[in-house]
C-alpha cells in the first residue's frame, strides 16, 4: 500500500463523511429543538434522491449546465423540506408531549407509509441519476484517479457546517434553535412562538436530509431500501457526536467515514460492526456523546409511562385467561392447518412481546432492538441443528440461554444509559447482531439464512409442535408475569420511578436492570427458538429493525400500562397483519397508518380500554 492509495482511500472516506454529516445535521437539529428522534429522517433522504432523479434530468434537458444540476438538487431539497413541514403540522405537533417510545413508533409509522408511497409513485426498479455536468471527470492525485464529484462532496460538508454556523449565530431563528436545544421550557416561558420555531426547524431538518439524498444521485441510484440503510448510520453519527450538537455530528461523521474507509481494508467483513462498536465505546465513556449535554430534566415528578398498579387477576380476567389458554389448546382439534400455523405464531409472538413489555412497561427500559435476542435465540438453535446435527430438544434449550447471554453482554453497556440514548444503543446492538448474521455468510448463510431447521421426528406434525410451543410460551409468560409481582419486579419498577430514591434505599439499580434485561432476553430467545422450528428456516429479517418495531407495536396495541396487554396485543397485531396483508399491495402503508392512529387516538391500547370499561362497570353499583 503506497501513500497515494492511502490518501485516496482517506479522501473517499471524507466524501462519505460529508454526505453523512449533511444528513445527520438535520436529524440532530430536529432532535435538539423537538426532542423527537425522527425515524422518518431516512425517508426524507430517500425522497430527496427520488425527487432529484426526477427533477434534475428534466432540467438538464433544457441545458446541460452544472448550474442547472445544482438548481435541481436545491429544488428537490426544498420540496422535501416542505414535506417536513407537512409532517410537523400533521403529526409531530400532536406528539411532542407523549413518551419517547410513542414518538419513535409514530415516526416509524411514517417510514412505512413513505416506503409504499415511493413504490407506488416511482416503481420498484432502482433509478440511476445523471452525473453532474462539469464534475464527471477524474482528478489525478499522487498517481491515483479520484472522481471530481467526490472532491466536490468533500467541500460540501464543511460548507454546510459553515452555513449552519452562520445561521445559528447570525440570525434570530438560529439563536432560537440554539436556545431551544439548551432549554426548551425556558424558550417557551420567554414567549417565543414555538409553533413557528418547530415548523421552521422541521423544514430545515428535512431540507438537509433531502439535500443529502439529492447530492447522492451521481454516486448511488435511488432505491426503496435507502431509508433504513441510511437511518441507522445517521443515528450512530448523531449519537456519537451528541444529540443536538451540529459540530459533534461533523466530528463523528469524519470519524466514521475514516473508520469505514480503512476498516474495509483491514476487516472487510465487519465494517458495520466496527461502526457500532465505536458507538458503544463512545457511549460508555461519554454517555451523552462527544459534544452532547446531559438532559436537563432532572428531579421530575411525573407518572412514569408503564405498568402502574399491577393488580392481580379478578374473576373476569381469570375467566378470560382460562378462555385464551383453552382456545390456544383447542385450535389443533378444531382448526385447519392454516389456523394451527397462525395460532402457533401468535403464541410465539405473545411470549416475545411479553418479554419486551417486561422490560419497557415494568422496567422502564425502552429497548428498540428486542428482535436481536429473539433472532439470536433462533440462530443459536438453528445453527446447532443445521451445522452440528444436534437434535431439537437440546437445541431448543440453548435458545433461551443464548438470548440471555447476549442480553447480558449487551445489557452491561445498555443499563449505563437512560432515555433516548439507551434506546439508540439497544438499536445499535441489534444492528450489530443483524450485520453479523447478514455478513457472515459461511456460518449463517447470509441473506438466505438457514434452511432445514426441523423438529425431531416425534414433533414434526404441526399439531404436536403447536403443543410444544404452547407449553413453552405459556410457561414463559406465566413465569415472567409472576416475577412482575415478586420483589424483583417491584424493584425494577422502583428503579424506573426514581433511580435516586432506589439508590438511597440501598438498591443497586444497574445490577437489577441488567438482570431484568437478561431475563427478558432469555424469554425472547426461547420465543425465537420456538419460532425457528415452526418455520423450518431462519433469515436475518428475524432480528431486523422492522421486527423490533413489530414487537413494540404489539405492546403498544395491547396497552403499555396493563400487565397482560402485550399478550393481547400480540394476538391482535398478528391477526390484523394476517388478515389485511394478503388483501392489499399496500400493507406497509396500512400498518404505518395504523401505528400512527394508535399513538394518536388510543395511546393506552386495548388493555387500557378494557381497564377503563372495567372501572366504569365497577363504579356503576357504587353510584346506584
Amino acid at each position: 500500500m503506497d501513500a497515494g492509495f492511502l490518501l485516496v482511500q482517506s479522501l473517499s472516506g471524507l466524501a462519505s463523511a460529508s454526505s453523512l454529516f449533511i444528513i445527520a445535521s438535520g436529524l440532530t437539529l430536529v432532535f435538539g429543538v423537538t426532542r423527537i428522534v425522527n425515524f422518518a429522517h431516512g425517508s426524507f433522504y430517500m425522497l430527496g434522491a427520488y425527487m432529484a432523479v426526477t427533477v434534475v434530468p428534466w432540467l438538464l434537458e433544457i441545458e446541460r449546465s452544472p448550474w442547472l444540476f445544482f438548481v435541481g438538487v436545491l429544488i428537490s431539497a426544498a420540496v422535501v423540506g416542505l414535506l417536513g413541514v407537512a409532517m410537523e403540522l400533521l403529526l409531530l405537533r400532536r406528539i411532542y408531549k407523549v413518551p419517547e417510545l410513542f414518538q419513535l413508533l409514530a415516526t416509524f409509522g411514517v417510514v412505512l407509509m413513505v416506503q409504499d408511497a415511493v413504490l407506488k409513485i416511482w416503481g420498484p426498479v432502482d433509478i440511476t441519476g445523471p452525473r453532474a455536468p462539469g464534475l464527471r471527470h477524474g482528478v489525478e492525485i499522487m498517481g491515483q484517479r479520484f472522481p471530481a464529484y467526490e472532491l466536490f462532496l468533500i467541500c460540501a460538508g464543511p460548507a454546510v457546517l459553515g452555513a449552519l454556523w452562520l445561521l445559528m449565530h447570525r440570525t434570530r431563528f438560529g439563536v432560537l434553535i440554539r436556545a431551544a436545544t439548551r432549554d426548551r421550557e425556558m424558550v417557551g416561558a420567554l414567549g417565543v412562538n414555538q409553533a413557528m420555531l418547530f415548523t421552521g426547524t422541521l423544514f430545515l431538518g428535512a431540507f438537509l436530509a433531502g439535500l443529502g439524498g439529492a447530492l447522492q444521485i451521481p454516486r448511488v441510484s435511488a432505491s426503496a431500501q435507502m431509508d433504513l440503510s441510511i437511518i441507522t448510520e445517521v443515528f450512530v453519527v448523531t449519537v456519537i457526536g451528541g444529540m443536538g450538537s451540529v459540530t459533534g455530528a461533523f466530528l463523528a461523521a469524519v470519524l466514521i467515514g475514516q473508520l469505514q474507509a480503512f476498516g474495509v481494508l483491514v476487516f472487510p467483513k465487519i465494517t458495520l460492526v466496527l461502526v457500532f462498536l465505536l458507538m458503544a465505546v463512545v457511549l460508555v465513556v461519554k454517555p451523552w456523546g462527544l459534544l452532547g449535554k446531559p438532559e436537563p430534566a432532572a428531579g421530575r415528578a411525573t407518572l412514569p409511562e408503564g405498568i402502574l398498579h399491577p393488580r392481580g387477576f379478578a374473576l373476569p380476567e381469570k375467566l378470560l385467561a382460562a378462555l385464551a389458554v383453552a382456545a390456544a389448546l383447542a385450535v389443533p382439534v378444531f382448526g385447519d392447518a392454516y389456523a394451527v400455523k397462525v395460532a402457533t405464531e401468535v403464541l410465539v409472538f405473545a411470549l416475545a412481546a411479553f418479554s419486551l413489555h417486561f422490560l419497557v412497561g415494568n422496567g422502564g427500559i425502552v429497548s428498540f432492538g428486542h428482535a436481536a435476542y429473539f433472532g439470536l435465540g433462533a440462530y443459536a438453535s438453528g445453527l446447532l441443528v443445521v451445522r452440528l446435527g444436534v437434535p431439537m430438544e437440546p437445541a431448543l434449550l440453548v435458545a433461551p440461554v443464548a438470548g440471555a447471554a447476549f442480553a447480558f453482554l449487551f445489557g452491561f453497556f445498555v443499563v449505563r444509559l437512560s432515555g433516548i440514548y439507551l434506546a439508540m444503543l439497544t438499536l445499535a446492538f441489534a444492528q450489530i447482531a443483524y450485520a453479523v448474521c447478514f455478513q457472515w455468510v459461511e456460518v449463517t448463510g447470509g441473506d438466505n439464512g438457514l434452511v432445514g431447521v426441523w423438529p425431531s421426528a416425534w414433533a414434526t406434525s404441526r399439531h404436536v409442535y403447536h403443543y410444544i410451543v404452547a407449553a413453552g410460551a405459556i410457561a414463559g409468560i406465566v413465569a415472567l408475569r409472576h416475577v412482575i409481582y415478586a420483589p424483583f419486579g417491584a424493584t425494577l419498577r422502583a428503579a424506573r420511578d426514581s433511580a435516586p430514591r432506589a439508590d438511597a434505599i440501598g438498591i443497586d439499580v444497574r445490577t437489577h436492570q441488567l438482570l431484568g434485561f437478561t431475563m427478558a432476553g432469555g424469554a425472547a430467545g426461547l420465543a425465537g427458538g420456538l419460532y425457528a422450528f415452526s418455520k423450518g428456516s431462519i433469515d436475518p429479517t428475524m432480528l431486523a429493525i422492522p421486527m423490533s418495531v413489530d414487537f413494540l407495536a404489539m405492546i403498544l396495541l395491547g396497552g403499555i400500562q396493563t400487565v397482560m396487554g402485550a399478550v393481547v396485543g400480540a394476538g391482535a397485531f398478528h391477526a390484523i397483519k394476517d388478515i389485511f396483508m394478503p388483501l392489499t399491495d399496500y400493507w406497509r402503508f396500512l400498518l404505518g397508518a395504523s401505528i400512527i392512529a394508535l399513538v394518536l387516538l388510543f395511546p393506552r391500547g386495548l388493555g387500557g380500554a378494557f381497564a377503563s370499561v372495567r372501572a366504569r362497570v365497577a363504579a356503576e353499583p357504587a353510584r346506584a
Binding site: 415528578a301 415478586a486 420483589p487 419498577r493 422502583a494 426514581s498 438511597a504 434505599i505 438498591i507
Partner: protein, 260 residues
C-alpha cells in the same frame, strides 16, 4: 460518641471552591444543621457525606468506619437514611408499597422471584407510617398526597432501614409554614427518641433555630462558625454575612417559641 465525622473535606468544580477544609462531628441523637447563603457549599458537603459526590480530599467517617466515596446504596446499607430536596418516591406505588419497598431492600430481598412483594413487610410498613402519622393513607397512591404528606412518607421510607444517621437535604423546601414546623417537630422527636443523628441543610431559619442542637455555618465553601444556636446567633461574623438584622431577630423569636 461521635457518629459522623467529616475531616478536612475539599471539593472544587473547575475554578470554584465548593468546599474548603470542611470538618464537623455529629453525635448520636443530635441534630446538626448546615446553613449558609446560596452557593455556600451546603449541598456539596451534604452530597459528599451521602455518597453522591466524591471529595477531592478529606475523609468521612461513620462510627469510625471510613465511608469516603462509597456509592449511596452502600452508604445506605451502613445505616444512613436520606430524604431529598424534591421528594423522591416511587410514584407508581401506594404509600405502603413505597415503605415496603424500602424494607425489602433493607432486608436484601430485592432479587427474590417467587414471593409476592405486596405481601412482604406490610405490618412493619404500616407501623412505620404510624410513626409519621400517615397510617390512615397507607393504601392511597402516593401521587395523590399533598406535598407535605409525601415528605412525611419519605421520612418513613428513610426510617425503614433503621438508620443510625438521617441525611435530610432541605427537608422543608416547598412546604407551607405550618407543615414545616410539624415535620421538623416530628423529625426531632423521632431522632431523640431513637438516638438517630440528623444532618440537615435548611434555608428556613425558624426550622433551624427551633430544632438544631448545633449549627454549622458555611460561606463560600468554608466553615465560618460552629456551635449551639445561641452561640451562632451571637456570632458577629454570622450576623454580618448571613443572618443580617432581620434574620437575627427571626432566629431569636424561633428559639423562644420552641423553648417556652
Amino acid at each position: 460518641m461521635t457518629l459522623l465525622a467529616a475531616a478536612g473535606l475539599n471539593k472544587r468544580f473547575g475554578g470554584v471552591v465548593a468546599a474548603k477544609d470542611v470538618r464537623f462531628a455529629l453525635n448520636a441523637g443530635e441534630m446538626l444543621a448546615i446553613i449558609g447563603p446560596n452557593g455556600a457549599g451546603k449541598s456539596t458537603t451534604f452530597n459528599m457525606v451521602g455518597g453522591q459526590l466524591r471529595p477531592d480530599s478529606g475523609r468521612v467517617l461513620l462510627a469510625g468506619q471510613d465511608i469516603t466515596g462509597l456509592p449511596p446504596r452502600e452508604v445506605c446499607r451502613l445505616g444512613v437514611g436520606r430524604t431529598f430536596q424534591v421528594a423522591q418516591t416511587f410514584l407508581s406505588m401506594t404509600v405502603a408499597q413505597n415503605v415496603q419497598m424500602a424494607l425489602i431492600a433493607h432486608a436484601g430481598r430485592t432479587r427474590e422471584l417467587v414471593s409476592r412483594a405486596e405481601a412482604l413487610y406490610r405490618a412493619q410498613a404500616v407501623a412505620l407510617l404510624g410513626k409519621v402519622g400517615m397510617a390512615a393513607d397507607a393504601d392511597r397512591p402516593i401521587g395523590e398526597l399533598a406535598y407535605g404528606d409525601v415528605k412525611r412518607v419519605e421520612l418513613a421510607i428513610a426510617l425503614a432501614a433503621s438508620p443510625r444517621l438521617l441525611l435530610m437535604d432541605e427537608p422543608t423546601a416547598g412546604m407551607a409554614p405550618r407543615e414545616r414546623a410539624s415535620l421538623m417537630q416530628l423529625t426531632a422527636g423521632i431522632a431523640r427518641e431513637e438516638g438517630i443523628g440528623v444532618l440537615f441543610t435548611e434555608h428556613d431559619m425558624d426550622a433551624v433555630f427551633a430544632h438544631a442542637d448545633r449549627i454549622l455555618v458555611l460561606v463560600r465553601g468554608e466553615v465560618i462558625a460552629e456551635g449551639t444556636p445561641e452561640e451562632v446567633r451571637a456570632n458577629e461574623q454570622v450576623k454580618r454575612v448571613y443572618l443580617g438584622t432581620t434574620g437575627h431577630k427571626a432566629a431569636l423569636r424561633a428559639r423562644r417559641a420552641a423553648h417556652v
